[in-house]
Point group: C2
Chain length 316, copies 2
Protein backbone atom coordinates (compact mmCIF):
# COMPACT_ATOMS: atom_id res chain seq x y z
CA UNK A 1 0.00 0.00 0.00
CA UNK A 2 1.18 3.51 -0.83
CA UNK A 3 1.09 6.53 1.47
CA UNK A 4 1.27 10.31 1.09
CA UNK A 5 2.34 13.10 3.37
CA UNK A 6 0.47 16.36 3.85
CA UNK A 7 1.98 19.41 5.53
CA UNK A 8 -0.24 22.31 6.60
CA UNK A 9 1.83 25.39 7.39
CA UNK A 10 -0.12 27.82 9.56
CA UNK A 11 0.70 30.99 11.45
CA UNK A 12 0.68 29.10 14.77
CA UNK A 13 1.52 25.47 13.99
CA UNK A 14 2.96 23.32 11.24
CA UNK A 15 0.79 20.20 11.07
CA UNK A 16 1.82 17.13 9.13
CA UNK A 17 0.19 13.78 8.55
CA UNK A 18 0.63 10.52 6.70
CA UNK A 19 -2.47 9.44 4.79
CA UNK A 20 -3.38 6.56 2.56
CA UNK A 21 -4.09 7.33 -1.09
CA UNK A 22 -7.76 7.99 -0.25
CA UNK A 23 -6.88 10.69 2.27
CA UNK A 24 -7.42 8.72 5.48
CA UNK A 25 -4.95 9.87 8.13
CA UNK A 26 -2.86 7.06 9.57
CA UNK A 27 -0.52 9.23 11.63
CA UNK A 28 -0.19 12.93 12.40
CA UNK A 29 1.86 15.35 14.48
CA UNK A 30 2.63 19.06 14.71
CA UNK A 31 5.22 21.61 15.84
CA UNK A 32 4.86 25.33 16.57
CA UNK A 33 5.61 27.59 13.61
CA UNK A 34 8.85 29.45 14.28
CA UNK A 35 7.78 32.80 12.86
CA UNK A 36 11.15 34.37 13.75
CA UNK A 37 13.17 31.77 11.83
CA UNK A 38 14.56 32.23 8.32
CA UNK A 39 13.07 30.26 5.44
CA UNK A 40 15.86 27.66 5.69
CA UNK A 41 14.98 27.18 9.38
CA UNK A 42 11.27 26.74 8.67
CA UNK A 43 11.96 24.27 5.85
CA UNK A 44 14.28 22.35 8.21
CA UNK A 45 11.47 22.26 10.82
CA UNK A 46 9.10 20.83 8.17
CA UNK A 47 11.70 18.23 7.16
CA UNK A 48 12.29 17.27 10.80
CA UNK A 49 8.56 16.92 11.41
CA UNK A 50 8.14 14.74 8.32
CA UNK A 51 11.15 12.61 9.25
CA UNK A 52 9.87 12.13 12.81
CA UNK A 53 6.40 11.24 11.51
CA UNK A 54 7.81 8.51 9.27
CA UNK A 55 9.89 7.05 12.08
CA UNK A 56 7.02 7.21 14.62
CA UNK A 57 4.60 5.63 12.14
CA UNK A 58 6.94 2.69 11.64
CA UNK A 59 6.18 2.75 7.92
CA UNK A 60 8.77 1.83 5.31
CA UNK A 61 10.07 5.14 3.91
CA UNK A 62 9.80 3.76 0.36
CA UNK A 63 6.03 3.47 0.68
CA UNK A 64 5.72 7.30 0.88
CA UNK A 65 5.02 8.42 -2.67
CA UNK A 66 4.51 12.18 -2.37
CA UNK A 67 4.63 15.21 -0.10
CA UNK A 68 2.08 18.00 -0.43
CA UNK A 69 2.48 21.35 1.29
CA UNK A 70 -0.28 23.87 1.99
CA UNK A 71 0.81 27.43 2.75
CA UNK A 72 -1.16 30.63 3.40
CA UNK A 73 -0.91 33.34 0.75
CA UNK A 74 -0.17 33.17 -2.95
CA UNK A 75 1.52 30.10 -4.35
CA UNK A 76 2.77 29.18 -7.80
CA UNK A 77 1.72 25.54 -7.76
CA UNK A 78 3.40 24.80 -11.08
CA UNK A 79 6.83 25.99 -10.00
CA UNK A 80 6.36 25.00 -6.36
CA UNK A 81 7.13 28.53 -5.17
CA UNK A 82 5.47 30.59 -2.42
CA UNK A 83 5.05 33.97 -4.11
CA UNK A 84 3.84 35.84 -1.05
CA UNK A 85 2.81 34.79 2.44
CA UNK A 86 2.25 37.12 5.37
CA UNK A 87 3.66 36.43 8.88
CA UNK A 88 5.94 33.50 7.92
CA UNK A 89 9.36 33.89 6.25
CA UNK A 90 8.58 31.85 3.16
CA UNK A 91 7.81 34.53 0.54
CA UNK A 92 9.79 33.83 -2.62
CA UNK A 93 10.87 30.37 -1.46
CA UNK A 94 10.74 27.39 -3.80
CA UNK A 95 9.33 24.76 -1.45
CA UNK A 96 9.76 22.01 -4.01
CA UNK A 97 13.50 22.46 -4.38
CA UNK A 98 14.19 23.37 -0.73
CA UNK A 99 12.25 20.44 0.71
CA UNK A 100 13.60 18.37 -2.19
CA UNK A 101 17.04 18.66 -0.52
CA UNK A 102 15.65 16.35 2.19
CA UNK A 103 13.28 14.03 0.33
CA UNK A 104 13.69 12.54 -3.12
CA UNK A 105 9.96 12.15 -3.93
CA UNK A 106 7.48 14.37 -5.81
CA UNK A 107 6.65 17.53 -3.81
CA UNK A 108 3.49 19.57 -4.43
CA UNK A 109 2.48 23.03 -3.20
CA UNK A 110 -0.88 24.76 -2.83
CA UNK A 111 -2.58 27.61 -1.01
CA UNK A 112 -3.81 26.44 2.40
CA UNK A 113 -7.50 27.25 1.81
CA UNK A 114 -7.32 25.59 -1.61
CA UNK A 115 -5.84 22.49 0.04
CA UNK A 116 -8.66 22.45 2.61
CA UNK A 117 -11.12 22.68 -0.30
CA UNK A 118 -9.42 19.73 -1.95
CA UNK A 119 -9.59 17.70 1.27
CA UNK A 120 -13.33 18.30 1.61
CA UNK A 121 -13.77 17.61 -2.11
CA UNK A 122 -12.24 14.15 -1.96
CA UNK A 123 -14.26 13.49 1.23
CA UNK A 124 -17.64 14.17 -0.44
CA UNK A 125 -19.98 11.21 -0.29
CA UNK A 126 -21.45 11.93 -3.69
CA UNK A 127 -18.79 12.72 -6.23
CA UNK A 128 -19.13 15.94 -8.16
CA UNK A 129 -16.93 17.96 -10.47
CA UNK A 130 -17.85 21.52 -9.36
CA UNK A 131 -17.56 22.51 -5.70
CA UNK A 132 -16.88 25.70 -3.77
CA UNK A 133 -15.43 25.48 -0.26
CA UNK A 134 -15.91 28.35 2.18
CA UNK A 135 -14.08 28.47 5.47
CA UNK A 136 -15.44 30.76 8.18
CA UNK A 137 -12.74 31.62 10.69
CA UNK A 138 -10.70 34.66 11.69
CA UNK A 139 -11.34 35.72 8.10
CA UNK A 140 -13.13 33.94 5.25
CA UNK A 141 -11.13 31.82 2.85
CA UNK A 142 -12.16 29.53 0.08
CA UNK A 143 -11.33 27.20 -2.72
CA UNK A 144 -13.01 26.56 -6.05
CA UNK A 145 -12.97 23.18 -7.75
CA UNK A 146 -14.16 23.11 -11.35
CA UNK A 147 -14.06 20.07 -13.57
CA UNK A 148 -12.46 18.13 -10.71
CA UNK A 149 -9.46 20.49 -10.52
CA UNK A 150 -8.55 23.42 -8.27
CA UNK A 151 -9.43 26.61 -10.08
CA UNK A 152 -6.78 29.18 -9.15
CA UNK A 153 -7.39 31.81 -11.85
CA UNK A 154 -4.91 33.30 -14.21
CA UNK A 155 -2.42 34.27 -11.50
CA UNK A 156 -2.95 31.68 -8.78
CA UNK A 157 -4.96 33.93 -6.46
CA UNK A 158 -8.60 33.16 -7.27
CA UNK A 159 -11.17 32.25 -4.60
CA UNK A 160 -10.38 35.19 -2.30
CA UNK A 161 -14.10 35.11 -1.57
CA UNK A 162 -13.72 36.76 1.84
CA UNK A 163 -12.84 39.97 0.02
CA UNK A 164 -16.03 40.04 -2.02
CA UNK A 165 -17.57 43.38 -1.06
CA UNK A 166 -21.14 43.20 0.23
CA UNK A 167 -21.31 46.73 1.63
CA UNK A 168 -19.22 49.23 -0.36
CA UNK A 169 -19.57 51.97 2.27
CA UNK A 170 -19.23 49.55 5.17
CA UNK A 171 -16.52 48.48 7.61
CA UNK A 172 -12.88 48.96 6.63
CA UNK A 173 -11.10 45.70 5.84
CA UNK A 174 -7.42 44.94 6.30
CA UNK A 175 -7.16 44.53 2.50
CA UNK A 176 -7.87 48.24 1.97
CA UNK A 177 -11.44 47.92 0.71
CA UNK A 178 -14.63 48.67 2.62
CA UNK A 179 -17.34 46.17 3.39
CA UNK A 180 -15.64 42.87 2.55
CA UNK A 181 -17.73 39.79 3.27
CA UNK A 182 -15.34 38.67 6.01
CA UNK A 183 -16.06 41.86 7.95
CA UNK A 184 -19.66 40.62 8.33
CA UNK A 185 -19.60 36.84 8.16
CA UNK A 186 -16.33 35.62 9.66
CA UNK A 187 -16.21 34.28 13.21
CA UNK A 188 -14.35 37.48 14.09
CA UNK A 189 -17.44 39.37 12.88
CA UNK A 190 -19.74 37.12 14.91
CA UNK A 191 -17.71 37.82 18.04
CA UNK A 192 -17.76 41.57 17.32
CA UNK A 193 -21.54 41.46 16.83
CA UNK A 194 -21.94 39.54 20.09
CA UNK A 195 -19.85 42.11 22.00
CA UNK A 196 -21.69 45.02 20.41
CA UNK A 197 -25.04 43.51 21.38
CA UNK A 198 -23.83 43.15 24.99
CA UNK A 199 -22.69 46.79 25.04
CA UNK A 200 -26.07 47.95 23.73
CA UNK A 201 -27.90 45.63 26.15
CA UNK A 202 -25.90 45.50 29.38
CA UNK A 203 -28.75 43.72 31.24
CA UNK A 204 -29.04 40.94 28.64
CA UNK A 205 -28.22 37.27 29.10
CA UNK A 206 -25.52 37.73 26.46
CA UNK A 207 -23.86 40.51 28.48
CA UNK A 208 -24.04 38.36 31.59
CA UNK A 209 -22.59 35.33 29.83
CA UNK A 210 -19.69 37.40 28.47
CA UNK A 211 -18.96 38.74 31.97
CA UNK A 212 -18.72 35.20 33.36
CA UNK A 213 -17.23 33.15 30.54
CA UNK A 214 -15.87 35.64 28.04
CA UNK A 215 -16.91 35.73 24.43
CA UNK A 216 -16.31 33.29 21.57
CA UNK A 217 -17.78 32.41 18.21
CA UNK A 218 -20.25 30.07 19.87
CA UNK A 219 -21.44 32.31 22.71
CA UNK A 220 -24.52 33.52 20.82
CA UNK A 221 -25.23 30.07 19.29
CA UNK A 222 -25.18 28.41 22.72
CA UNK A 223 -27.42 31.00 24.38
CA UNK A 224 -29.83 30.91 21.44
CA UNK A 225 -30.33 27.19 22.10
CA UNK A 226 -31.56 28.03 25.63
CA UNK A 227 -34.27 30.19 24.06
CA UNK A 228 -32.61 33.60 24.49
CA UNK A 229 -34.10 36.08 22.03
CA UNK A 230 -31.14 38.47 21.98
CA UNK A 231 -28.80 35.63 21.08
CA UNK A 232 -31.16 34.56 18.30
CA UNK A 233 -31.13 38.11 16.94
CA UNK A 234 -27.31 38.07 16.73
CA UNK A 235 -27.17 34.61 15.16
CA UNK A 236 -29.95 35.41 12.66
CA UNK A 237 -28.17 38.53 11.47
CA UNK A 238 -24.81 36.79 11.22
CA UNK A 239 -26.22 33.81 9.30
CA UNK A 240 -27.99 36.27 6.98
CA UNK A 241 -24.58 37.82 6.29
CA UNK A 242 -23.08 34.39 5.63
CA UNK A 243 -26.01 33.56 3.34
CA UNK A 244 -25.61 36.78 1.37
CA UNK A 245 -22.13 35.76 0.24
CA UNK A 246 -23.14 32.14 -0.33
CA UNK A 247 -25.98 33.24 -2.65
CA UNK A 248 -23.59 35.52 -4.51
CA UNK A 249 -21.30 32.58 -5.17
CA UNK A 250 -24.27 30.52 -6.34
CA UNK A 251 -25.48 33.26 -8.70
CA UNK A 252 -22.02 33.59 -10.19
CA UNK A 253 -20.85 29.97 -10.33
CA UNK A 254 -23.85 27.67 -9.75
CA UNK A 255 -21.57 24.95 -8.38
CA UNK A 256 -23.06 21.53 -7.72
CA UNK A 257 -22.01 21.69 -4.08
CA UNK A 258 -20.96 24.36 -1.59
CA UNK A 259 -19.22 23.12 1.55
CA UNK A 260 -19.04 25.45 4.54
CA UNK A 261 -16.14 24.79 6.88
CA UNK A 262 -14.34 26.30 9.85
CA UNK A 263 -14.97 25.31 13.49
CA UNK A 264 -18.32 27.15 13.52
CA UNK A 265 -19.61 24.80 10.80
CA UNK A 266 -20.05 22.18 13.54
CA UNK A 267 -23.32 24.06 14.20
CA UNK A 268 -24.56 21.98 11.25
CA UNK A 269 -28.24 22.44 10.44
CA UNK A 270 -28.54 25.42 12.78
CA UNK A 271 -26.20 27.22 10.41
CA UNK A 272 -27.11 25.68 7.08
CA UNK A 273 -30.93 25.51 7.20
CA UNK A 274 -31.53 29.29 7.28
CA UNK A 275 -29.17 29.65 4.30
CA UNK A 276 -31.16 26.98 2.46
CA UNK A 277 -34.28 29.05 3.11
CA UNK A 278 -32.55 32.12 1.66
CA UNK A 279 -31.52 30.01 -1.35
CA UNK A 280 -35.14 28.97 -2.00
CA UNK A 281 -36.28 32.58 -2.11
CA UNK A 282 -33.45 34.49 -3.67
CA UNK A 283 -31.35 32.61 -6.18
CA UNK A 284 -31.91 33.93 -9.66
CA UNK A 285 -32.52 30.66 -11.43
CA UNK A 286 -35.67 29.03 -12.72
CA UNK A 287 -34.21 25.55 -12.83
CA UNK A 288 -34.96 22.70 -10.47
CA UNK A 289 -31.38 21.63 -9.99
CA UNK A 290 -30.04 23.76 -7.14
CA UNK A 291 -26.63 23.91 -5.51
CA UNK A 292 -26.42 21.49 -2.55
CA UNK A 293 -25.29 23.16 0.69
CA UNK A 294 -23.26 21.07 3.13
CA UNK A 295 -21.15 21.61 6.21
CA UNK A 296 -17.56 20.37 6.23
CA UNK A 297 -16.63 16.93 7.47
CA UNK A 298 -12.89 17.04 8.08
CA UNK A 299 -12.61 19.85 10.61
CA UNK A 300 -9.06 20.98 11.31
CA UNK A 301 -7.61 18.14 9.27
CA UNK A 302 -9.02 19.38 5.94
CA UNK A 303 -5.87 21.33 5.03
CA UNK A 304 -3.55 18.52 5.97
CA UNK A 305 -5.56 15.90 4.07
CA UNK A 306 -5.97 18.17 1.04
CA UNK A 307 -2.23 18.87 0.97
CA UNK A 308 -1.61 15.13 1.01
CA UNK A 309 -4.03 14.78 -1.92
CA UNK A 310 -2.35 17.40 -4.14
CA UNK A 311 -0.70 14.62 -6.18
CA UNK A 312 -4.17 13.27 -6.96
CA UNK A 313 -5.51 16.64 -8.07
CA UNK A 314 -2.53 17.00 -10.40
CA UNK A 315 -3.69 13.85 -12.24
CA UNK A 316 -7.21 15.17 -12.95
CA UNK B 1 -15.38 29.30 -47.82
CA UNK B 2 -17.80 28.22 -45.08
CA UNK B 3 -20.34 30.42 -43.34
CA UNK B 4 -22.37 30.31 -40.12
CA UNK B 5 -25.63 31.85 -39.06
CA UNK B 6 -26.24 33.54 -35.74
CA UNK B 7 -29.72 34.35 -34.42
CA UNK B 8 -30.12 36.68 -31.43
CA UNK B 9 -33.64 36.47 -30.03
CA UNK B 10 -34.48 39.53 -27.95
CA UNK B 11 -37.60 40.92 -26.32
CA UNK B 12 -37.92 43.56 -29.06
CA UNK B 13 -36.22 42.16 -32.15
CA UNK B 14 -34.95 38.91 -33.60
CA UNK B 15 -31.63 39.69 -35.21
CA UNK B 16 -29.87 37.28 -37.54
CA UNK B 17 -26.63 37.40 -39.43
CA UNK B 18 -24.37 35.37 -41.66
CA UNK B 19 -20.73 35.38 -40.59
CA UNK B 20 -17.56 33.78 -41.83
CA UNK B 21 -15.93 31.18 -39.59
CA UNK B 22 -13.98 33.93 -37.79
CA UNK B 23 -17.16 35.76 -36.79
CA UNK B 24 -17.05 38.59 -39.34
CA UNK B 25 -20.59 39.54 -40.37
CA UNK B 26 -21.16 39.39 -44.09
CA UNK B 27 -24.91 40.02 -44.01
CA UNK B 28 -27.50 40.75 -41.35
CA UNK B 29 -31.17 41.58 -40.92
CA UNK B 30 -33.85 41.66 -38.24
CA UNK B 31 -37.60 41.40 -37.60
CA UNK B 32 -39.68 42.50 -34.61
CA UNK B 33 -40.19 39.78 -31.99
CA UNK B 34 -43.84 38.72 -32.05
CA UNK B 35 -44.30 38.41 -28.30
CA UNK B 36 -47.96 37.44 -28.73
CA UNK B 37 -47.22 34.52 -31.06
CA UNK B 38 -46.99 30.87 -30.03
CA UNK B 39 -43.63 29.11 -30.01
CA UNK B 40 -44.32 27.63 -33.47
CA UNK B 41 -44.99 31.14 -34.79
CA UNK B 42 -41.76 32.52 -33.34
CA UNK B 43 -39.73 29.60 -34.69
CA UNK B 44 -41.36 30.17 -38.12
CA UNK B 45 -40.36 33.85 -37.92
CA UNK B 46 -36.77 32.81 -37.18
CA UNK B 47 -36.79 30.36 -40.08
CA UNK B 48 -38.23 33.01 -42.43
CA UNK B 49 -35.59 35.50 -41.35
CA UNK B 50 -32.80 32.97 -41.90
CA UNK B 51 -34.21 31.97 -45.30
CA UNK B 52 -34.50 35.60 -46.40
CA UNK B 53 -30.96 36.31 -45.21
CA UNK B 54 -29.54 33.47 -47.28
CA UNK B 55 -31.44 34.58 -50.39
CA UNK B 56 -30.51 38.25 -49.94
CA UNK B 57 -26.87 37.39 -49.35
CA UNK B 58 -26.74 35.46 -52.65
CA UNK B 59 -24.66 32.77 -50.93
CA UNK B 60 -24.95 29.10 -51.86
CA UNK B 61 -27.11 27.49 -49.16
CA UNK B 62 -24.66 24.58 -48.94
CA UNK B 63 -21.91 26.85 -47.69
CA UNK B 64 -23.87 27.48 -44.46
CA UNK B 65 -22.48 24.97 -41.96
CA UNK B 66 -24.28 25.80 -38.72
CA UNK B 67 -26.97 27.87 -37.04
CA UNK B 68 -26.51 29.21 -33.52
CA UNK B 69 -29.37 30.69 -31.51
CA UNK B 70 -29.02 32.98 -28.50
CA UNK B 71 -32.06 33.32 -26.25
CA UNK B 72 -32.66 35.17 -22.97
CA UNK B 73 -33.23 33.03 -19.87
CA UNK B 74 -32.10 29.53 -19.03
CA UNK B 75 -31.06 27.19 -21.82
CA UNK B 76 -30.02 23.56 -21.88
CA UNK B 77 -27.28 23.88 -24.49
CA UNK B 78 -26.70 20.14 -24.66
CA UNK B 79 -30.30 19.28 -25.50
CA UNK B 80 -30.96 22.50 -27.41
CA UNK B 81 -33.93 23.34 -25.20
CA UNK B 82 -35.00 26.69 -23.76
CA UNK B 83 -35.84 25.79 -20.15
CA UNK B 84 -37.28 29.15 -19.15
CA UNK B 85 -37.40 32.52 -20.85
CA UNK B 86 -39.50 35.48 -19.68
CA UNK B 87 -41.62 37.57 -22.11
CA UNK B 88 -41.26 35.31 -25.18
CA UNK B 89 -43.27 32.09 -25.72
CA UNK B 90 -40.28 29.78 -25.98
CA UNK B 91 -40.08 28.22 -22.50
CA UNK B 92 -39.81 24.45 -22.80
CA UNK B 93 -39.19 24.56 -26.56
CA UNK B 94 -36.49 22.44 -28.16
CA UNK B 95 -35.00 24.97 -30.57
CA UNK B 96 -32.74 22.38 -32.17
CA UNK B 97 -35.54 20.07 -33.22
CA UNK B 98 -38.07 22.81 -34.05
CA UNK B 99 -35.69 24.83 -36.20
CA UNK B 100 -34.33 21.52 -37.47
CA UNK B 101 -37.66 21.07 -39.28
CA UNK B 102 -36.55 23.89 -41.56
CA UNK B 103 -32.78 23.44 -41.84
CA UNK B 104 -30.81 20.22 -42.03
CA UNK B 105 -27.56 21.53 -40.50
CA UNK B 106 -26.20 21.50 -36.94
CA UNK B 107 -28.14 23.86 -34.64
CA UNK B 108 -26.70 25.24 -31.38
CA UNK B 109 -28.38 27.08 -28.52
CA UNK B 110 -27.05 29.35 -25.79
CA UNK B 111 -28.13 32.01 -23.31
CA UNK B 112 -28.01 35.45 -24.99
CA UNK B 113 -25.53 37.02 -22.53
CA UNK B 114 -23.33 33.94 -22.78
CA UNK B 115 -23.43 34.26 -26.58
CA UNK B 116 -22.43 37.93 -26.34
CA UNK B 117 -19.55 36.86 -24.07
CA UNK B 118 -18.49 34.33 -26.68
CA UNK B 119 -18.63 36.96 -29.45
CA UNK B 120 -16.37 39.31 -27.49
CA UNK B 121 -14.12 36.40 -26.56
CA UNK B 122 -13.41 35.42 -30.15
CA UNK B 123 -12.93 39.12 -30.98
CA UNK B 124 -10.14 39.64 -28.40
CA UNK B 125 -6.90 40.81 -29.97
CA UNK B 126 -4.80 38.82 -27.55
CA UNK B 127 -6.08 35.32 -27.09
CA UNK B 128 -6.76 34.12 -23.58
CA UNK B 129 -8.48 31.16 -21.98
CA UNK B 130 -10.23 32.86 -19.03
CA UNK B 131 -12.50 35.85 -19.61
CA UNK B 132 -15.56 37.34 -17.92
CA UNK B 133 -17.97 39.47 -19.93
CA UNK B 134 -20.20 42.00 -18.19
CA UNK B 135 -22.98 43.77 -20.04
CA UNK B 136 -24.37 46.94 -18.48
CA UNK B 137 -27.86 47.64 -19.80
CA UNK B 138 -31.42 47.60 -18.45
CA UNK B 139 -30.01 45.04 -16.02
CA UNK B 140 -26.56 43.48 -15.76
CA UNK B 141 -25.84 40.24 -17.56
CA UNK B 142 -22.69 38.28 -18.05
CA UNK B 143 -20.84 35.32 -19.37
CA UNK B 144 -17.87 33.40 -18.03
CA UNK B 145 -15.34 31.69 -20.26
CA UNK B 146 -12.92 29.32 -18.55
CA UNK B 147 -10.41 27.18 -20.36
CA UNK B 148 -11.75 28.53 -23.67
CA UNK B 149 -15.27 27.24 -23.02
CA UNK B 150 -18.46 28.86 -21.76
CA UNK B 151 -18.80 28.09 -18.06
CA UNK B 152 -22.51 27.62 -17.35
CA UNK B 153 -22.37 25.91 -13.97
CA UNK B 154 -23.99 22.70 -12.93
CA UNK B 155 -27.46 23.70 -14.13
CA UNK B 156 -26.80 26.06 -17.04
CA UNK B 157 -27.55 29.25 -15.12
CA UNK B 158 -24.16 30.49 -13.94
CA UNK B 159 -22.91 34.05 -14.55
CA UNK B 160 -26.04 35.78 -13.23
CA UNK B 161 -23.61 38.39 -12.00
CA UNK B 162 -26.21 41.17 -11.97
CA UNK B 163 -27.82 39.41 -9.02
CA UNK B 164 -24.70 39.46 -6.89
CA UNK B 165 -25.80 41.36 -3.78
CA UNK B 166 -23.63 44.36 -2.90
CA UNK B 167 -26.01 45.90 -0.36
CA UNK B 168 -28.06 43.29 1.57
CA UNK B 169 -30.39 45.90 3.06
CA UNK B 170 -30.57 47.95 -0.12
CA UNK B 171 -32.96 48.44 -3.02
CA UNK B 172 -35.46 45.68 -3.80
CA UNK B 173 -34.65 43.80 -7.00
CA UNK B 174 -37.11 42.11 -9.35
CA UNK B 175 -35.48 38.79 -8.46
CA UNK B 176 -36.75 39.01 -4.88
CA UNK B 177 -33.46 39.87 -3.19
CA UNK B 178 -32.35 43.25 -1.89
CA UNK B 179 -29.36 45.20 -3.12
CA UNK B 180 -28.45 43.29 -6.29
CA UNK B 181 -25.54 44.79 -8.24
CA UNK B 182 -27.82 45.67 -11.15
CA UNK B 183 -29.86 47.94 -8.86
CA UNK B 184 -26.74 50.13 -8.50
CA UNK B 185 -24.63 49.65 -11.61
CA UNK B 186 -26.98 49.04 -14.56
CA UNK B 187 -27.85 51.84 -16.99
CA UNK B 188 -31.30 51.81 -15.38
CA UNK B 189 -29.58 52.64 -12.08
CA UNK B 190 -27.53 55.40 -13.70
CA UNK B 191 -30.71 56.97 -15.09
CA UNK B 192 -32.40 56.70 -11.67
CA UNK B 193 -29.40 58.31 -9.98
CA UNK B 194 -29.42 61.13 -12.57
CA UNK B 195 -33.13 61.78 -11.99
CA UNK B 196 -32.72 61.68 -8.20
CA UNK B 197 -29.88 64.18 -8.40
CA UNK B 198 -32.07 66.52 -10.46
CA UNK B 199 -34.89 66.25 -7.93
CA UNK B 200 -32.52 67.06 -5.07
CA UNK B 201 -30.94 69.90 -7.07
CA UNK B 202 -33.70 71.52 -9.16
CA UNK B 203 -31.44 74.48 -10.13
CA UNK B 204 -28.63 72.23 -11.39
CA UNK B 205 -27.40 71.90 -14.96
CA UNK B 206 -28.52 68.25 -14.78
CA UNK B 207 -32.09 69.26 -13.87
CA UNK B 208 -32.09 71.82 -16.69
CA UNK B 209 -30.75 69.30 -19.22
CA UNK B 210 -33.42 66.76 -18.24
CA UNK B 211 -36.16 69.41 -18.66
CA UNK B 212 -35.00 70.19 -22.20
CA UNK B 213 -33.77 66.84 -23.57
CA UNK B 214 -35.08 64.20 -21.16
CA UNK B 215 -32.82 61.73 -19.40
CA UNK B 216 -30.76 58.84 -20.68
CA UNK B 217 -27.79 56.77 -19.63
CA UNK B 218 -25.41 59.29 -21.15
CA UNK B 219 -26.96 62.48 -19.75
CA UNK B 220 -24.59 62.65 -16.78
CA UNK B 221 -21.57 61.50 -18.82
CA UNK B 222 -22.13 64.23 -21.46
CA UNK B 223 -22.61 67.03 -18.93
CA UNK B 224 -19.58 65.86 -16.96
CA UNK B 225 -17.48 66.40 -20.09
CA UNK B 226 -18.51 70.09 -20.11
CA UNK B 227 -17.06 70.41 -16.61
CA UNK B 228 -20.30 70.14 -14.60
CA UNK B 229 -19.52 69.09 -11.04
CA UNK B 230 -22.94 67.62 -10.27
CA UNK B 231 -22.73 65.36 -13.32
CA UNK B 232 -19.26 64.24 -12.24
CA UNK B 233 -20.63 63.38 -8.81
CA UNK B 234 -23.30 61.12 -10.37
CA UNK B 235 -20.87 59.45 -12.77
CA UNK B 236 -18.24 58.93 -10.07
CA UNK B 237 -20.73 57.23 -7.78
CA UNK B 238 -22.12 55.03 -10.56
CA UNK B 239 -18.66 53.97 -11.78
CA UNK B 240 -17.73 53.18 -8.17
CA UNK B 241 -20.79 50.88 -8.06
CA UNK B 242 -19.73 49.23 -11.33
CA UNK B 243 -16.18 48.85 -10.00
CA UNK B 244 -17.40 47.23 -6.77
CA UNK B 245 -18.89 44.33 -8.71
CA UNK B 246 -15.95 44.11 -11.10
CA UNK B 247 -13.51 43.81 -8.17
CA UNK B 248 -15.70 41.13 -6.61
CA UNK B 249 -15.49 39.10 -9.81
CA UNK B 250 -11.72 39.58 -9.86
CA UNK B 251 -11.33 38.48 -6.23
CA UNK B 252 -13.41 35.38 -6.89
CA UNK B 253 -12.23 34.34 -10.35
CA UNK B 254 -9.04 36.27 -11.21
CA UNK B 255 -9.81 35.96 -14.93
CA UNK B 256 -7.14 37.05 -17.39
CA UNK B 257 -9.52 39.55 -18.99
CA UNK B 258 -12.78 41.26 -18.07
CA UNK B 259 -14.69 42.85 -20.96
CA UNK B 260 -17.34 45.44 -20.12
CA UNK B 261 -20.08 45.76 -22.73
CA UNK B 262 -23.46 47.38 -23.27
CA UNK B 263 -23.99 50.68 -25.11
CA UNK B 264 -22.58 52.67 -22.16
CA UNK B 265 -19.22 50.91 -22.63
CA UNK B 266 -18.62 53.26 -25.59
CA UNK B 267 -17.56 55.74 -22.88
CA UNK B 268 -14.30 53.77 -23.06
CA UNK B 269 -11.51 55.12 -20.85
CA UNK B 270 -13.89 57.48 -19.05
CA UNK B 271 -15.58 54.37 -17.69
CA UNK B 272 -12.69 51.97 -17.43
CA UNK B 273 -9.87 54.12 -16.01
CA UNK B 274 -11.52 54.81 -12.62
CA UNK B 275 -12.18 51.07 -12.26
CA UNK B 276 -8.50 50.39 -13.02
CA UNK B 277 -7.63 52.82 -10.20
CA UNK B 278 -9.95 50.89 -7.85
CA UNK B 279 -8.29 47.66 -9.00
CA UNK B 280 -4.81 48.99 -8.12
CA UNK B 281 -5.92 49.81 -4.58
CA UNK B 282 -8.33 47.09 -3.62
CA UNK B 283 -7.77 43.73 -5.22
CA UNK B 284 -6.63 41.21 -2.66
CA UNK B 285 -3.66 39.83 -4.50
CA UNK B 286 0.05 40.36 -4.09
CA UNK B 287 0.94 39.18 -7.58
CA UNK B 288 2.02 41.33 -10.47
CA UNK B 289 -0.19 39.72 -13.04
CA UNK B 290 -3.52 41.53 -12.81
CA UNK B 291 -6.77 41.05 -14.69
CA UNK B 292 -6.86 43.21 -17.83
CA UNK B 293 -9.96 45.43 -18.05
CA UNK B 294 -11.31 46.19 -21.53
CA UNK B 295 -14.43 47.67 -23.03
CA UNK B 296 -16.36 45.63 -25.58
CA UNK B 297 -15.68 45.90 -29.30
CA UNK B 298 -18.70 44.38 -31.01
CA UNK B 299 -21.53 46.57 -29.66
CA UNK B 300 -25.00 45.31 -30.49
CA UNK B 301 -23.65 42.58 -32.74
CA UNK B 302 -21.90 40.67 -29.93
CA UNK B 303 -24.87 38.35 -29.31
CA UNK B 304 -25.41 37.63 -32.97
CA UNK B 305 -21.72 36.96 -33.64
CA UNK B 306 -21.39 34.84 -30.50
CA UNK B 307 -24.45 32.78 -31.48
CA UNK B 308 -22.88 32.19 -34.88
CA UNK B 309 -19.69 31.02 -33.10
CA UNK B 310 -21.44 28.47 -30.82
CA UNK B 311 -20.27 25.64 -33.14
CA UNK B 312 -16.68 26.77 -32.53
CA UNK B 313 -17.07 26.83 -28.76
CA UNK B 314 -18.45 23.30 -28.88
CA UNK B 315 -15.12 22.14 -30.37
CA UNK B 316 -12.98 23.56 -27.51
Amino acid sequence: MDYCIGVDIGGTNIKAGITDTLGNIVFKDSVPTAVDKSSRGIIADCADLIGTLIIESGLDRNLIKSIGVGCPGTCDAEKGTVIYTPNINLSGVNIRSELGNYFDIPIYLGNDANCAALGEYFALEEKTSNMVFITLGTGIGGGIILGGKLYIGTNGTAAEIGHMVINPHGLKCGCGANGCWEQYASVTALIRMTKEFAERNPQSAIANEIKINGVGGRTAFELMKTGDKGAKEIVDEWIFNVGTGVLNIINILQPEVIVIGGAISKEGETLINPIKEMQKKSVYSQVEKKTTLLTAKLGNDAGLIGSAMLWKESLQ
